[in-house]
């Protein structure tokens, strides 16, 4: 996928289209980020509570994911798909541009969320993070991986069922995914505990495992989406 995208500047045209679409929602996006940031700060000032601050990465990433996936509904409403097919673009370029857009926004969402958490800690909370809150922060960051995984599953669903119907499918996917993740993470921790592997630092490999899992998921998702798109009429 990487080779296709870097070799084809045509993807830039499609990315520009989706970014211009996103620009229409700039006030909503700014309000979304602003409201949660203010709420996190107020919650700390009034209640000395920092759980919302720790959850900002996942909250902002979910928002970014929703806005990224809304570009599919926008394409469906404007019926631009047929027009895009009439342009000198390959299926890999058309689908690749969508994946780049979704991944880009998810990363931006995570980075913005982490930055906001860091800013609130630095300028308002001004204390070292406790182990309880560190756990919430880790769960929040792990949640951003789950968002990526959900997107990797949802994109082929959109190409199969359309943007509106795929939103319905996603609820059943969420349930399945949560069960799978709980079993997977629980299982990993169980074996780490059982084999006393934590002493040799296996836990530190978890982020790499998660990134690997996401990379595989996106690779499979991209290929499935290309197949489904080719079959569309």
């Amino acid at each position: 996928m990487k080779i296709v995208l870097t070799k084809t500047p045509k993807v830039q045209g499609l990315l520009t289209k989706d970014m211009l679409h996103l620009r229409r929602f700039k006030r909503i996006i700014a309000s979304y980020i602003f409201l949660f940031t203010i709420a996190a700060i107020l919650l700390f000032i009034t209640d000395r509570s920092i759980w919302l601050t720790c959850l900002l990465p996942i909250i902002i990433t979910v928002g970014a994911g929703i806005f990224a996936l809304s570009s599919f509904s926008y394409d469906e409403n404007t019926k631009i798909d047929m027009y895009v097919k009439s342009l000198p673009l390959t299926v890999k370029e058309i689908i690749g541009a969508k994946y780049v857009f979704v991944i880009f926004l998810t990363i931006i969402g995570t980075v913005v969320g982490l930055l906001l958490t860091a800013i609130i800690f630095t300028f308002f909370i001004r204390t070292t993070i406790s182990s309880d809150h560190f756990e919430i922060l880790i769960i929040s960051i792990a949640g951003t991986f789950c968002v990526s995984l959900l997107e990797a599953i949802q994109i082929p669903c959109i190409y199969k069922f359309g943007a509106e119907k795929a939103n319905m499918q996603i609820y059943s996917i969420i349930v399945v995914l949560v069960i799978v993740l709980v079993l997977l993470v629980g299982g990993i921790f169980y074996w780490i505990e059982l084999l006393s592997l934590s002493r040799i630092g296996i836990e530190s490999l978890l982020p790499i495992l998660l990134i690997g899992l996401i990379a595989i998921a996106y690779n499979v998702s991209y290929k499935v989406s290309c197949r489904l798109y080719e079959k569309q009429e």
């Binding site: 499609l14 289209k17 679409h21 229409r24 019926k79 047929m82 027009y83 000198p88």
Partner: protein
């Protein structure tokens, strides 16, 4: 005369409709009008030519190249206006220029803005605020700005008033003046094609009923009237 487009035995089968052995040729420097009532198969024919729908049988050659083998290369030199499907109405022509610059190798910003000026289209106004005629002219400006050799247009004059229709038909005539460019245009308004089309292909129920030069058709009609 060289053909810019050759369609041979095109077949596309749907549940309740099918295109049956559509064949015709479009020579360079000419305009062909694809006529027929709504649902006759005009749009499906154009989509099949552009490989937007998968055909069951037949072949399409554009500029002497097979559409199946050289689709991207061919599409670089085709300007397309579809009945449905275009950019969001919340985009301005300037936005569309930014998008298309990244898509067509030969996209010319200067040419695009020249067309906008010629067609009296404000470049920084969202197309939602355009009239129906202006929206169609914008589609045509986009289709022309990468200097295509062939224009394929689906119902470009439907829903327009006679003045806007006249303007658009003039654009097509200007386009073929150098005898190197061609236009394939579908319409159910036969009077639009009477004055500009060199060839008329009539489709009914997914089949070509006739495909002749306009002069041949006029002669035939005259003879019919005499009898």
């Amino acid at each position: 005369m060289d053909n810019i487009l050759e369609v041979k035995n095109l077949c596309k089968v749907y549940d309740r409709f099918s295109l049956k052995n559509i064949s015709f040729e479009l020579p360079k420097g000419t305009i062909m009008g694809l006529v027929g009532e709504n649902g006759a198969g005009k749009s499906t024919t154009l989509k099949a030519i552009l490989n937007l729908v998968k055909i069951n049988n037949g072949s399409v050659k554009v500029f002497g190249l097979d559409m199946k083998d050289k689709e991207i290369e061919i599409k670089e030199d085709i300007g397309v206006v579809l009945d449905e499907g275009f950019f969001s109405e919340y985009l301005t022509p300037t936005n569309i220029n930014d998008i298309m610059t990244g898509i067509y190798k030969n996209w010319s910003k200067e040419l695009f803005f020249k067309y906008l000026e010629d067609f009296n289209l404000p470049k920084d106004k969202i197309s939602k605020e355009y009239s129906t005629g202006m929206k169609m002219k914008l589609k045509i400006a986009v289709a022309l700005a990468h200097k295509p050799k062939l224009l394929i247009l689906d119902e470009p004059t439907s829903g327009l008033d006679p003045i806007a229709r006249g303007d658009i038909l003039d654009i097509f005539q200007d386009f073929i003046q150098d005898e190197e460019h061609s236009v394939l245009v579908s319409s159910h308004i036969t009077s639009d094609l009477e004055n500009i089309a060199d060839y008329i292909t009539f489709i009914n129920n997914g089949e070509i009923v006739l495909s002749k030069t306009r002069d041949e058709l006029i002669d035939k009609m005259r003879n019919c009237k005499m009898y």
